[in-house]
Point group: C2
Amino acid sequence: MIERLFINVMSQPVPSPQFEGLWRFPGETSASGYRSLSYWTDIAVQLEKAGVDALFLADIHGIYDIYDGSRDAAVARGVQVPAIDPVLLASSLIAVTKTLGFAVTYSTTYNPPYQCARVFSTLDHLSGGRIGWNLVTSYLASAERNGMGTFEPHDLRYDKADEYVKIVRALWEESWQSDAIQHDVDHDLFTDPEKVHTIDHSGPWYSVEGPHVCEPSPQRTPVIYQAGASRRGTRFAAQHAEAIFATFPSVAVGVRHMQALRQAVEDAGRPTERVKPFQSAFTLIAPSPREARQKAAAVTRMISREGELTKLCAWIGVDLKGMPDDLAINNLSIEASQSIRAFLKRHDSERDWTIGDLRSIAIMSRSPHRRTGWLVGTPERVADQMEDFAMRTGIDGFNLIPCPPRGGIDDICNLLMPELQRRGLVPDTSPPEGLTLRQRYFGAQATGYL
Amino acid sequence: MIERLFINVMSQPVPSPQFEGLWRFPGETSASGYRSLSYWTDIAVQLEKAGVDALFLADIHGIYDIYDGSRDAAVARGVQVPAIDPVLLASSLIAVTKTLGFAVTYSTTYNPPYQCARVFSTLDHLSGGRIGWNLVTSYLASAERNGMGTFEPHDLRYDKADEYVKIVRALWEESWQSDAIQHDVDHDLFTDPEKVHTIDHSGPWYSVEGPHVCEPSPQRTPVIYQAGASRRGTRFAAQHAEAIFATFPSVAVGVRHMQALRQAVEDAGRPTERVKPFQSAFTLIAPSPREARQKAAAVTRMISREGELTKLCAWIGVDLKGMPDDLAINNLSIEASQSIRAFLKRHDSERDWTIGDLRSIAIMSRSPHRRTGWLVGTPERVADQMEDFAMRTGIDGFNLIPCPPRGGIDDICNLLMPELQRRGLVPDTSPPEGLTLRQRYFGAQATGYL
């Protein structure tokens, strides 16, 4: 029995978020809309009205340039370039909404922690506590060539991020006492300086004295989201995250990983109910099975083959262009084959993969016909799938990735949300204004980081 | 004969912008309002309706800590701490306005140029070209202790900033050709990669390869504002700025400095009409002379003496606390007395200053009774002063600093702007939607950086 599901919708201010080539899908306006205020304010108002809990905004730094040894394919196919800054976009959308939450991607690699603390305190003040931080560490080597910091190996990035989180949480939670602000007109006393403290952090990576420059915001610490899937990433998420994004390919894998995650959270000394796992899922909805099939077929046709390969090559760090389809991955260099195996792990299968298989996966993962990782069909069918998946794995909600990017948001709001409301899986009333995002997820008693 | 005046209003998301202690002024709501979205959206909507050209948002990094060798006075008196981030605030205010411009302070010291380029391209896209960048280099040593970069001497900061501007302008103006975007559905061609170029900058301070990650925004380059007053600062402003903020203490000084500025702009190889100088002025307005006198007296009483001294000590880098009033500045260390003389230069007078004089200036400069640097009185009187000052110095407009911070905005919008409209000094119709900030200042032909 599921009490309720939390529904986040994921997007990104790029021409064709998550599905390369779908800026060309009939009726889509994302090609110019991604950089237009009214495109986004329409979406935010629509999501809020429909009862969606939060808009999740992804980000990237740098341009994919592994495929064919150049950035040309990424530029030509519009693969996350051009882009605009999602943090600033979120700040605009705060102004036209009252209750919608915003989970904003912000990298620990590109911004000093003192700056990060001010950014999220500002967003939390302006939004009245509706902010989450999708904490990412990873980045592309191309960002380094733009003077955005040095490229460091994966596990080291997480070590730095551990220290980073410690610092920003100290600024948010320990620097200003709750009763520091005085507003004492008679004594010209705005703040009691005895109640504002330095944090005096000095560690291997960062030195930050403090105090924080912002007074405590409604949530103090934004809700911390994390999607680390590697072993080191899972440990990091278990230590810090309150919301975890998973992409379980099946119920069986979900059950297994949920056990591992709960164990990791316990090992980190935190109660397991303080971490909400969300399943990320590509979502394609239509009023009838026939329309869903037609739309799925159109999406499959429209996916940009080269766009998806561009992304895949950047992820695995191997240029597949020109390699024959029947080349076995085992015959590549040790480094390349290891990197590809790490990527294929999520496909949960052991076999003698070829380059052709890999190409198929890259393209087909974005095709609704594949089903794995997808919610496809009528609102009833998708709600069935969600309910079943949540019940059997124990996840708390979904991070829906609309397909196509703009029309899919209409379908989620107009078709799916009403169906979930009918089933009592999501509330059919708006949350009260002033409820923070953390309270929305964890209940009214959740006044600070759990 | 003045054709027209441009009117910017200056504020800052801190409890008591520019006037320490005035958060206590009767009717002021800035003490809590500075961090509240509705406080600011009300202001932005009001300024737009009144016909103000742009809202100028100041910023600071770090906390003043010279006075009494501690940050306690800054914290106690609320001297620019607590604060929130003005860049994010501007992004919120974009969403509730259609024609108002925003000049946003952003430091070249704390943010890599590649990031700066994305921030302003994003704001320019979302606002439809209503963005200016108030380029600042200066910062407090206390920011260094928070891991925000190394403290560097004044002139060196400008050398770095020269290179910085070169990079961001190359990203904005040279990286993407105007016809790069294709949206060619049939050929899966979003952007023509042949028309997107790296900038390959490699200089003494920065290495940035590019290309820019954003497609060209309405203005490409935001309107560049600068307030550099030192010799090096003036040279910098003459080279790069399109709008310059001056604080001329008198018409005579204004005339002299305007000549020097025009010369500096010519020396930089730019036509002088491509730089608009604005006079910054504290502004106190009331319906009648009697009410203006009463309000001025109340402001003088309410200014926080310690708050203003805290600011002064940080500016001059000398702790005045405990020094006797009759101590001559000549008797201080060479370093301290030089620094104080540099500060006093703007007061345009040579005499044997004492610590007491300096203290008086710090307090009295914020008192409307002093007149220098102030516009005080009825709307008619203030409009007279503005007209006279502009006519005799040749400035293009004003950067009004409202006193008190919130009520002063009401007075500018409700009393002063209608008077300026009656005189034909500002237009009495809204600018057309879609006009960029640069076009608003320089005319419809100003489609890019001049």
